[in-house]
């Protein structure tokens, strides 16, 4: 695959990179750095991409692995204003509006651990239990158990946010 083909593919599946960056990094600068880091690792790992697997599946794998070991700028955090804004949104009354749900979702997601974040992202993206197991390297059974726990945890976090109001 040439550099141009690679960049075209990236443009097609850019949503994956944005979602992974958004789930793992709260701060916009960290998000930008992670976004670049993932592209960098994708380019470096391109030689190992086997054409028989879908490009998006391979992208998820590299992106999540990069996010798991990504070094966030400790000095930047906590960016009080950003966190205040974010928490303010997250603590707003539960609303059925998708944007409102999304804000609450991001507010709750930052309390999950790194593997739970990966799990919930892949679940939302509609990957099957086997595909998630194959990406993370755990059994399908474990995926099922962990996904249910993570969903319950998210639900509790959101309820706790609403009760605080």
């Amino acid at each position: 695959m040439t550099e141009t083909e690679f960049l075209d593919k990236l443009e097609q599946h850019k949503g994956i990179l944005l979602k992974v960056s958004r789930i793992y990094c709260d701060h916009p600068e960290d998000r930008k750095d992670l976004f670049q880091e993932i592209i960098c690792q994708l380019w470096r790992s391109l030689k190992t991409f086997q054409q028989y697997s879908a490009f998006s599946t391979w992208m998820y794998r590299v992106a999540i692995n990069t996010a798991l070991v990504f070094h966030k700028h400790d000095k930047r955090r906590p960016d009080k204003q950003a966190l205040l804004d974010h928490d303010g949104h997250a603590k707003a009354a539960y609303d059925d509006k998708p944007e409102q749900q999304l804000r609450q979702f991001y507010g709750a997601v930052k309390h999950l651990n790194e593997v739970e974040k990966a799990l919930i992202l892949l679940y939302i993206e509609g990957l099957s239990g086997e595909e998630i197991a194959d990406t993370l390297g755990i059994s399908a059974n474990n995926v099922r158990v962990k996904t249910n726990r993570t969903k319950a945890k998210l639900q509790n976090l959101i309820e706790a946010q609403n009760n605080e109001l």
Binding site: L7, L18, Q36, C40, N65, L68, V69, H71, N113, L154
Partner: protein, 204 residues
């Protein structure tokens, strides 16, 4: 919570991060592996500097002729040990491309690599410190301002057994202390990264 709505809202979010026009425009500096790579590169540069210092040392440390030839002979051995270590470090740097394994495998692989860098560093430094004792001893004896005949017995190791035993014990002690010290430095350098990775692996 409706995850379908969340997925849709995630997809509808404003897209403010552009894909670069060229791969060359991408900066990579926040990866944990990049940090480890940078530290390995610094270690390699220090090792290369040590080789240079050892090679040019006789130009400012004037030694007797016999001492000088013995010095180069022993330095050759030290340089070979250091080169072996550098080759290991280069191989480690080159093997960091494990982002396409499963997440668990890739984290495990990173942990193994960091631990091997620390362990191999510890044992290699024992070898390097032990091997370095000989040229240092030769510099010390060979540059003393006395006639060469007076230092021949030391250079030919024509000394009583107890002095020899003391010398060997001294070499082992220095090498041991050097390797422990180096191990502590390596642990300090990589412990934060290692702890982070071990914390993640426990989450699986």
């Amino acid at each position: 919570m409706n995850f379908d709505d969340i997925k849709k809202a995630m997809e509808d979010e404003p897209n403010d991060l552009p894909v670069p026009l060229s791969v060359k425009d991408i900066k990579s500096s926040h990866s944990l592996m990049k940090k480890i790579k940078n530290r390995l590169i610094i270690e390699i540069l220090i090792s290369l500097l040590l080789i240079v210092v050892l090679m040019i040392n006789p130009s400012w440390n004037k030694m007797h002729e016999t001492a000088q030839s013995l010095y180069y002979l022993t330095v050759f051995n030290v340089v070979m040990v250091i080169l072996g270590f550098i080759l290991f470090q280069l191989k480690t740097i080159n093997d960091f491309k494990v982002y396409d394994l499963t997440s668990r495998q890739s984290i495990e692989m990173f942990i193994i690599k960091i631990k091997s860098v620390i362990e191999v560093g510890k044992y290699f430094s024992f070898g390097i410190f032990a091997a370095l004792c000989l040229p240092v001893f030769i510099i010390y004896v060979g540059s003393v301002h006395v006639p060469e005949s007076h230092i021949q017995k030391y250079l030919h190791l024509n000394i009583p057994w107890w002095q020899m035993a003391l010398f060997i014990a001294g070499v082992i002690l220095i090498a041991f202390l050097g390797s422990v010290y180096n191990w502590k430095i390596l642990q300090k350098m990589y412990s934060k990264q290692l702890q982070n990775l071990e914390k993640i692996i426990k989450q699986f």
